[in-house]
């Protein structure tokens, strides 16, 4: 089943068209990767899926992005509610300069959960879901920004998991991490995909090959090819895709 379906999406930063007539579907509870050379519009597409681009001045958008069959760009959509269901993990780990506990409960408090026992319960569950519980259970009061980067990124995922979104968008979540930390985060993605629909933007083709089930290749604002990861990486239909995955450019 498709959780998110993008139809005829065009996107402009001022006069610059960053996305050209994109059509793509993200299926439930699998990992879809977006690959392509720098500047091809991967992040832009990702940020269209939870309307984070709304925050940028002078952007224009046309076309449709359906989340569970409702166009999120139609007038009567509540953006705040949408972002609660379609969450995001950023390139640089960006916990708040608060305690581990306060980071995880941030979203919950925003959404009105206040009873202490519920918060504690959800913190434990979220930290367990992101593999942080054993390391963090005695350090819930330490300042999150002082943790190692990998733990910070996990914490950002825990903070998101705490509000129980349906979709997790990840924009190069490992680019600030070393290979060992990257491997751990990838493991976590496999774990998370049991419950969440995941879309990941990555520069790293090996990573896309390792973690994703479906894969889209973008070039200069266009979606060149989209299909199962095994097909894209073994027998792509398009010559440009072939050239990119064999490392002939990019």
């Amino acid at each position: 089943m498709n959780t998110i379906e993008v139809k005829n999406l065009n996107f402009y930063y001022g006069n610059f068209q960053a996305l050209k007539d994109i059509g793509i579907a993200f299926q439930e509870k699998i990992i879809t990767a977006l690959i392509g050379p720098s500047g091809c519009g991967k992040s832009t597409l990702l940020r269209c899926l939870n309307r984070m681009n709304d925050l940028i001045e002078g952007v224009k958008i046309s076309g449709e992005v359906d989340f569970k069959d409702k166009n999120i760009y139609s007038k009567n959509i509540d953006v705040v509610e949408l972002r609660r269901h379609v969450g995001m993990v950023f390139q640089r780990p960006n916990p708040f300069p608060l305690s581990v506990f306060d980071n995880v409960v941030y979203g919950l408090k925003v959404h009105g959960v206040t009873q202490a026992f519920r918060l504690e319960e959800i913190v434990e569950r979220s930290l367990k879901a992101t593999g942080l519980w054993d390391e963090m259970k005695d350090k819930l009061n330490s300042i999150a920004t002082e943790l190692p980067l990998e733990q910070q990124q996990r914490l950002c995922m825990a903070r998101l998991v705490a509000i129980e979104p349906e979709v997790i968008l990840m924009d190069e979540p490992c680019s600030a991490l070393d290979p060992i930390a990257t491997a751990k985060i990838e493991e976590l993605m496999f774990e998370l995909k049991k419950k969440y629909t995941i879309v990941i933007v990555t520069h790293n083709m090996q990573q896309a090959a390792r973690v994703s089930d479906c894969c889209g290749f973008m070039l200069l604002g266009e979606l060149i090819e989209f299909g199962t990861t095994s097909k894209i990486f073994t027998s792509p239909d398009n010559q440009k895709t072939q050239d990119y995955i064999t490392g002939r450019f990019g």
Partner: protein, 278 residues
Amino acid sequence: MRLNPKTSQKIMRIVLGIATGLTIFILLFIIVFMLSKGIPVLNWEFLSNFPAKMGKAGGILPTIIGTFVLTLVAIVIATPLGVGAAVYLTEYIREGKITKIIRFGAESLAGIPSIIFGLFGFILFVVTLKMGWSILSGGLTLAFMILPTIIRTSEEAIKTVPYSYREVSFSLGATKWETIKKVVLPNALPGIVTGIILGIGRSVGETAAVIFTAGSSLRLPSSLFDSVRTMSVHFYILSREGISMKNACGTAAVLVIFILAMNLTAYWIMHKFTKRNL
């Protein structure tokens, strides 16, 4: 004739060193001079007694209380206004003509001599709005005077909060106001507090704006509509009317110590938190 670069380098170094030394010397001289004249007068009686014979004898208790109350009123009025304006300017409207005009207005306001504020406060609050010489008139006048400082320091503080914090907050489904309340303001707090302390320092030391608006009564106030005399006004009156130079210096010493302490606190907060946040 051209000087050898090495020599001119040496000369410039000495000249700049002298300029710095002179500045520090003057500063220290003023402080030491005031304190050396004032501190011998200071004792518990001076701080806790009412003045007698117009201030020729006795202490300065009502002027300490007057200073405190007036400053408190000014801060209570100016802080919400100033922080609110700063939030609006930085978070709600885009950088453009309007923000430039407002900022220019605030900067100009900061450059206006305080006696003009005094006159303005006198005409508006004391006379037109019939508040008389009172804590309220004086507090409002001081509030307007320190507003630009509070707006500017708050704006600077808000701008140092990384954009990524706001971004995450929005991505977790927070509204703008929740983001401001939970992320922006707490992280900007040290800077905002610094601005408020600088505002306190200015209010405490202000004379011209206060003498026209809060009056110079030596009685203890019982309501916001009573007149008070601040320490700086007391100092001014004691010295100008030749009542007692000795007590004037004592009052000045209390003022100087207080303002130094305020500024040191502001510095300390700024230092401590800017280091930690980076």
